[in-house]
């Protein structure tokens, strides 16, 4: 059974120094509030896992919380570079960042294999691509029936996975709606997991028997954090702040302006601050 608790408690209990951690959400439902709490609690030596590192990992990398990162596309979507990520890789600032780079297909398959308790994933992929030459975690496997050769990658089994979702009920069952990305897989592949949610309701009342639901016994902690996905979005609650994504380019381009932003908005902030984004943005919600 998931424990319903505060964000501070959830991070305290589930995220440890040195952990491999997956914070997922494919553009949608990115758990920003949880990312900020990890920075406030000063976690160190994390190995970050995420298909699209996005601003959330740019922030964790920029404060020096990460020893390494496994990823498949490290940009600011539709805007440009992740400057903190680039600064870490190009200039080792604020510290070197070990990278393990894959394609989206490989990452998605590796999460899927992790959820299915398999040691590796196979795919028709990486043919003619140089990534296989620089990443020793891309190998091959031969079909025992046809002799075909396929790419193989290790499954992803994070110490902890964190997601944001629309709703949980009071037992801790969690509903995800809209673009669901790899969140279900990330939670099921992990040893421990946290779901932050927009609302906690009496009845989950999914819109269809086939809705994306994580049962309470498959999640470690559930936390009520309205607006917790800002500047990403929550389908049915608030829209993506494309303006913030555009603004981030300038904030993150410079080490000092980044550090000042973190000091003011993250170290000086709290989970409840995210709630104001719901009101501000709800007019755009579906």
């Amino acid at each position: 059974m998931a424990r319903i608790c505060t964000l501070s408690e959830a991070i305290e209990e589930n995220v440890r120094d040195g952990d491999s951690i997956a914070m997922e959400g494919f553009t949608h439902l990115i758990p920003y509030a949880a990312g900020h709490e990890i920075i406030r609690q000063d976690r160190k030596e994390l190995f970050l896992i995420r298909m699209t590192p996005d601003l959330i990992y740019d922030q964790l990398i920029g404060v020096g919380a990460a020893r390494g990162m496994k990823f498949s596309w490290g940009g600011n979507p539709g805007v440009g570079s992740l400057h903190r990520f680039r600064d870490a890789v190009e200039n080792q600032w604020p510290r070197p960042l070990e990278i393990e780079e894959h394609s989206h297909a490989a990452m998605a398959n590796a999460y899927e294999a992790g959820a299915a308790n398999l040691p590796f994933a196979m795919l028709r992929g990486y043919i003619g691509a140089d990534l296989a030459k620089v990443n020793p975690n891309i190998k091959s496997i031969t079909c025992p029936f046809t002799g075909e050769v396929l790419a193989a990658v290790p499954s992803i089994r994070p110490d902890v996975s964190i997601i944001h979702a629309q709703r949980a009920d009071r037992k801790g069952n969690v509903l995800i709606e809209g673009i669901s990305g790899v969140q279900k897989e990330a939670v099921l592949a992990a040893k421990r997991s946290i779901a932050t949610v927009e609302e906690i309701v009496d009845e989950l009342d999914p819109p269809s028997p086939n809705a994306v639901v994580l049962p309470t016994w498959a999640v470690s902690s559930v936390v009520h954090v309205p607006g917790g996905a800002f500047p990403s979005y929550a389908h049915g609650y608030y829209a993506r702040s494309n303006a913030f994504y555009i603004a981030w380019d300038k904030i993150a381009r410079d080490r000092d302006s980044f550090t000042a932003w973190i000091k003011e908005h993250v170290r000086g902030g709290k989970p409840e601050d995210f709630a104001r984004h719901v009101g501000k943005r709800s007019a755009k919600a579906a």
Partner: protein, 257 residues
Amino acid sequence: MSIEFTPTEMMTIAAARALTNDDVCFVGIGAPSAACNVARLTHAPDITLIYESGTIGTKPDVLPLSIGDGELCDTALCTVSVPEMFRYWLQGGRITTGFLGGAQIDRFANLNTTVVGDYDKPKVRLPGGGGAPEIAGNCGQIYITMALNKRGFVDHLDFITSMGHGEGGDHRAGLGMKTKGPTRVITDLCIFEPDAATKELTVVSIHSGVSRATIEENCGWPVRFAETVAETPVPTTAEISVLRDINARTKKAHEAA
């Protein structure tokens, strides 16, 4: 009556024209997204657009800034998980046409979006491949849209993020790939297609008002021209107005949000 248009507009419209009603199209962000939606709003209303976030049959009213904007899900026939998207739909061989772009392209339409310089000590760390390596391998064919300039069209790639025609000839088929790979590269100055035998990119159509010399000056390798080179028809009033309308709606939406 002549219409004023920019090279970028010409590129987007030329790309849109390459698409048909029967296409099931894996759409990237930026120029591909504009082209696919212009096609949908002009000559190909029944085209199926798929974004890698899992949205199938989407009909956005404004262009998404990211690959997973809410607009894509709101207007989709259905939305599947990302593992399902890559397993059943892309790898499943259900996509007829994939759209790619990149920081760098070579004469065999291989693309680099990973690093400039050495992989371990990069001069410029680019975002990486994302969906590209398997889009390049598993879609029926690939269209590429990129502005033609020497920074992008290079003699040698530092890194092959996604394979086009490799070293040319039958290299691609020799690796067991059954899909066509890049069949068209649509730029702001001209359209390339791979030569049937060598697979080297060859100019088959030049946009109105562009000279061969301009193309040669902006390309990092000695450009080949097809025996017969067409002139790309200029955008129609309808095409231009659809493109400008969607760009205007998009700008307004992104600034407001």
